[in-house]
Subunit: 180 residues, 2 copies
DNA sequence: CCTTTATATATAAAAGATTATATATAAATC
DNA sequence: GATTTATATATAATCTTTTATATATAAAGG
């Protein structure tokens, strides 16, 4: 999948591994994230497969940039993937729920503390979605002729916001029930 | 992490790899799932590490069962993990959002079709949480002295329900905005 | 003056997870 | 009579992801 994130970005403009990591962190990290090392190894594989091509851009006093561009093959693969419908729903992994599920033998106070901590973390995250990320989307929208893109990006930001709101509501509800 | 799911179940009662797969499918699959092959290889590793012990239960006309039980070491490890607080929020991966994010170049009708399809899938899933899974929790609660456990299990079921409701609302909202 | 942050790429090793395949039989469905 | 479902375990190969490490320097902050 990371493959398609990288092709997706490179379809807009050429970028280095470093650029792609920055782009992901401010835009897709909400629903798709990757470590730096994975991005570099995936780019390498994409080049071997002829999906992207690269050239070195020399820099003074900084390591040279290796800038990638998408090839026709890559563009075809991306468009093919985009048009392929998803027939299944995504499965989640939530460590907190896992702990909760097996926490009956534990001191009841301990799981409450953990729930309260997670609530704080999710509240901070919600604020992030309501400020920073919205700004990023608006910037993109204002500076380009990508009105369609901005609508789609706003929809993905909105998902993050709704998710965090739901999560916080669930934690509140759960704490209340466990305190009885 | 799968390690702790298996130890968590074995802390209740002895079970085979097959049993554990069944248990996960009806209870934790909402927030933690695993393929059969991963369960078997993880059990093997847990035995090598002295976290579980196994014995063969012969059966006629069926392959013999390999039944695992948790050891003291395993129990200690599980309790230690349970009491360790989670300092970070879980990151998600959502293919649908990824596609949506890069779908501007695509035929706009295509992404709407995919959104509608996902809505159907999530609606089915919501129904599942409201019927079958609730029944499983109630069964457990009625048949045992595990009232505390049942409250925690209900909380994890409730998460799945809230998540699906949120998801469906988001799809509706997004379809509406894109149809304008 | 010292530490941190930002810029930039790369690889090795390990862990986690999926896909595919093999074997075996009873019971139920078509 | 043929296929599917359920019972049961196991491994090989591959793919995905994380953790850790190495190198190098300018600018900004404390």
């Amino acid at each position: 999948m990371l493959k398609y994130v990288l092709l997706g970005f490179l379809n807009y403009r050429n970028a280095s591994g470093y650029d792609l990591k920055q782009l992901m962190d401010v835009s897709t990290s909400n629903f798709w994230h990757a470590k730096q090392s994975q991005i570099y190894t995936t780019l390498k594989k994409l080049e071997e497969d002829g999906m992207v091509a690269s050239h070195i851009e020399p820099q003074e006093s900084r390591p040279n940039r290796k800038v990638y561009e998408i090839t026709e093959t890559g563009r075809d693969d991306l468009k093919n993937w985009l048009s392929q419908p998803l027939m299944e729903i995504e499965s989640r992994k939530e460590k907190l729920l896992l702990k909760l599920f097996f926490s009956a033998q534990l001191d009841p106070e301990k799981i409450l503390t953990q729930l309260r901590l997670q609530k704080t973390l999710h509240k901070d995250n919600l604020e992030k979605y309501q400020t920073i990320t919205k700004g990023v989307v608006q910037q993109f929208a204002a500076s380009t002729d990508m009105a369609d893109d901005a609508r789609l990006w706003e929809a993905t930001r909105r998902f993050g916001e709704l998710y965090e709101e739901m999560y916080i509501r669930w934690v509140d509800e759960t704490i209340e029930k466990l305190e009885e």
